[in-house]
Symmetry: C2
Subunit: 604 residues, 2 copies
């Protein structure tokens, strides 16, 4: 049998209903055509998931997938993905996570874990060097993720890496995430899917090495990449100092930093909650597996009412979600909110959106203090914290809130037009009225309102040469399409997107090729084609689940309410031409359906 | 023929007198017993250098040596050494340097370059992938190092890595360094030796890979080390943010931050020249080859009289030398002084010491403004800059100053007792009256007043557990001996000493073993023995050159003038017992001469 390089060649397939665990072989053609991560998940879900199944039913499938670079010495290659059908959108979901869990899974001998069915009672999956078993986890049910990590490590050993859910996932909050050592598979509700299966946690420990096809070439590529990363002003400078908050002031100055649930694009309190103010709370850096960027920070609150609170972060998106979006200037409260999101296992972006939406509901009179049980006004840090508790515990009004702003907009009278989501997934921290690129990125993202399928703002604001115009639509369709395919491929590979700020596509292919020995991975064109192939397969999946071109859209606010102040006043989003151009460059018909010709070209 | 792993197995031997260049083979026994770097240099100089030769005569030998990890993917392994007989001390000299030159030399196919003799007129040595030649360099003679780098890269290609001298080296300043892309083989005058040989520069370019004996094991070791480095509060935190200035405030608070040419131990101006103040001048990070620490900073002066000045740094030692040591609080002037040291090719520590000494000479009336030609009072930033120019150009009184404080103390009346040097090498930024460890470290360093043979202050001040008492002499002999052997071994390996803040000896041996396949390198005991072997061979070299136990001492000031203020008042150094214990643990007799027994044990 031919040896695998880069890959372990093994899959762990777990049926929780029958408590059957089996080891299967990775298919070489699938590896060659779909690479890993999201690609593997897309092939499995498209082929094996019953169409139109309830995301929180036993029928849904959870795929934990690494890529060929995960756990290798290629810099910033500690990532893995979870793929499933999202309870937030009813469509495709993949979420990506750093830390140490993905590499450990490969060291244990698996490229992937597929989880099906539903356990009769709470269980955890324990994997240790090609041995695996389900263990009862009733004593962990109802327990927060931080304690869950500690108890598992106390029992099994601290070398075990853990991914688990908290109360939010157990109780079906549609934006519950899976938490792995203070990092998260955050968006779209994979935690709720895991909870619906009675799977509290996965613990993994491995001691094997990953065979590399051409070690000399691989190491030469590594050394070049390490030097690029170290001497790049972003990955070897600003991102280290400020973490993801690096861009905060720039976004605010550009007027695309959403404030008051996207009612404004520039935050009056920005100087109190900018990257320099947040840096004062950092007590140390933290790095994911094999990463020289160290973008992660540990922040701690040392005084005041949130004293003792800490978080790995706070990340830019959460700083915004619990900060500008709620007009809150208390950084300590932001840290406490992010801490609670970890504690309960919640996605910070969606949680902050729900709270911003509630605040606008109260502002507009659609809800009153009586409905809530406590004040819920913009700028009130204590309201934020109280709301996170209710959502995390699914308690009282928190039950509805935990269903996300889409459902809230449908249930709470006259609020639909300011429910800030795309396809059911709440929006991140960039106002699309100030960036035609982000407008298209949000509208066409496969998992809904997301900034990580493509990030055109990078080329619109941060590029050192050939910077694109924020307000023009020229070349934005091409940019978004290319980025979506590139980012998808990077997510398939196991490398972190942040590494690509310094390491170009031409430097990634030698990694993939020398690690795996797969000839096609040595070609930029071929690996980009894999990204495009995966994105098209996901599109077919979404169409099968009911996606139509009408859902490739944005919240009404962006079409009808111009920003009143800041550098992009009086602009609303005009999406039609952008979308038409995008479908065209994608090779999709005018209904957004992949043409046979494109399918053939991509060999799907 | 057996393949080399880790090593290239080739030496380039250059006789400048006859313009003969030849490629020779590395001896496997030498590799096994002396590892590389300083070890190779020690063996060559001990075996081949004519005893008592004039360091600036054609007889002296310059050895540029890499280690088995240099240029590999082991983190922070971009280092190489130059070994020669020092014109400052007349004794052993090795100087260590990061950047990219050492790795490039290995990529070109050489572990070492040995330079002998003297060219008839200025030349440069050009090496490109196992091809080599001497080229006339008359047009570069007299040119500063920055322009020299640029002109060589313009001519040969910017991929070439360069090490060169400036005017100071050409003119025989005994503390002239060799500069490689803003980093330096700084201490002890290797630049003057290079100048005495009419060798202006070495330019090297290589594209070969370094074969690794056990790539899987090597890469597993790398990934663990990268994680250690990234998540360590020093190498993945403070050192990144502040560079080497990380420790500045701590040293000052401890009262061992020398001020006014070692007249005080605490700087009144510390708040103006501390790590936070310096950080404001940083414009970006810079990393050496394959290093995730990024301790290097680029600082720039953006306003005032030194506007436009820049440096890779300023490093802690230079901040002290041109700052506290001269009672100067102008950071811009410090940056300008460090810039000029690079420009002329000067060692910053020695240059700053010379200026501090001159300032005390004027203070004490041993010199007057008329002798100097300009004011030379403590705190005067313009005096500092003017003096660096005179030293760099060897002009007027700068001719004597360029001979170092030892010679100045002998020539200038009644100043010998405050000439702050050991064995002719000026002292770095730790006052030994506040640290018994540093007292012994300075007194027993093989190249004179140096903090890089051992750094006991680390265990006295920074250790998180089992911290040692600064004023006690207990276990200091053992500590200094162990550190000297460890640091020596690390310098032989090609790894940076800074990596050892996070990567322990037990983690270094797997690198050495898996890279080279040399069995003994897998044992901590064996590699420590190599460090000890090299240090003892160097001791024999020094004894042959005239070293006696009486020279294992410190400037008189430390024995007779207690520090008046700060946390260590009224203390002077008592060296006798420390030294006796040190000789004992070294296995040397009471005259500091290695015993036959120890020599046999070390198989020298």
């Amino acid at each position: 049998m031919k040896t695998w390089h880069g890959y372990t060649g093994k899959i762990l397939d777990v049926d929780l209903t029958s408590a059957t665990l089996s080891e299967t072989e990775l298919d070489r053609t699938v590896a060659k055509n779909y690479m890993g991560g999201k690609g593997f998940g897309a092939r499995i879900l498209y082929d094996q998931l019953a169409p139109h199944c309830d995301p929180l039913s036993p029928e849904n499938i959870l795929v934990f997938a690494t890529g060929p670079l995960t756990g290798t010495l290629a810099p910033s290659s500690g990532r893995f993905e979870v793929c499933t059908k999202s309870p937030a959108t009813g469509l495709w979901l993949d979420a990506n996570c750093g830390g140490f869990f993905g590499p450990e899974l490969k060291f244990a001998g698996y490229d992937m874990v597929i989880v099906r069915g539903k356990a009769a009672s709470p269980v955890m999956l324990v994997i240790e060097d090609n041995r695996f078993e389900l263990k009862p986890a009733g004593d962990l049910w109802g327990i927060d993720t931080i304690t869950t990590h500690r108890q598992i490590k106390d029992t099994l050993g601290k070398e075990f890496r853990v991914a688990c859910i908290g109360e939010a996932g157990e109780k079906g909050v549609v934006f519950a995430g899976i938490i792995s050592e203070y990092r998260a598979l955050g968006r779209g509700g994979a935690g709720a899917v895991m909870g619906s299966k009675n799977l509290k946690a996965i613990a993994v420990r491995g001691t094997r090495s990953i065979a590399i096809h051409a070690p000399d070439h691989f190491m030469t590529t590594c050394r070049e990449a390490f030097n690029e990363l170290a001497n790049n002003p972003d990955t070897g400078g600003g991102r280290q100092k400020y973490g993801t908050n690096l861009i905060l002031s720039l976004m605010d100055e550009t007027g695309i930093h959403p404030v008051r649930n996207f009612q404004k694009g520039k935050f009056a309190g920005a100087s109190q909650v900018n990257e320099d103010a947040i840096e004062k709370y950092y007590v140390r850096n933290k790095a994911c597996f094999g990463c020289p960027i160290y973008c992660s920070k540990i922040a701690e609150v040392k005084e005041g009412k949130y004293k003792g609170s800490f978080t790995e972060g706070p990340e830019y998106e959460n700083v915004w979600a619990f900060g500008a979006n709620c007009e809150n200037v208390d950084i300590a409260a932001i840290i406490q909110a992010e801490y609670l999101c970890d504690y309960y296992g919640l996605d910070g972006i969606s949680t902050g959106n729900v709270i911003g939406f509630l605040m606008e509901c109260v502002e507009k009179g659609a809800l009153s203090e009586t409905d809530m049980g406590f004040p819920m006004n913009f700028g009130n840090d204590e309201s934020i914290i109280q709301a996170v508790h209710l959502i995390g515990q699914c308690k009282g009004p928190g039950k509805l809130w935990g269903q996300g702003v889409k459902k809230m907009g449908e249930r709470i009278k006259e609020t639909r037009h300011f429910a800030m989501h795309v396809k059911g997934l709440e929006l991140p921290a960039y106002d699309p009225r100030g960036s035609t690129g982000m407008a298209l990125a949000y509208a066409t993202s496969d998992r809904g309102g997301c900034h990580l399928r493509s990030w055109p703002i990078g080329d619109e604001l941060l590029a050192t040469e050939d910077r694109m115009d924020l307000s023009s639509i020229e070349f934005k369709a091409e940019l978004v399409k290319t980025q979506q395919d590139l980012f998808c491929m990077v997510n398939c590979s196991g490398m972190c997107l942040f590494a690509t700020f310094a390491v170009s596509l031409k430097q990634i292919t030698p990694f993939l090729h020398s690690a795996t020995g797969i000839e096609a991975f040595g070609s930029s064109d071929e690996v980009m084609k894999i990204g495009e192939r995966v994105n098209n397969l996901v599109r077919l999946f979404n169409i099968r689940e009911g996606l139509t071109k009408d859902l490739d859209t944005l919240p009404k606010r962006f079409f009808s309410e111009p920003l009143k102040e800041g550098p992009c006043p009086d602009r609303v989003v005009e999406l039609d031409q952008l979308k038409a151009e995008y479908y065209l460059v994608r090779g999709w018909d005018s209904d957004g359906i992949p043409t046979d010709e494109r399918m053939q070209k991509l060999a799907i």
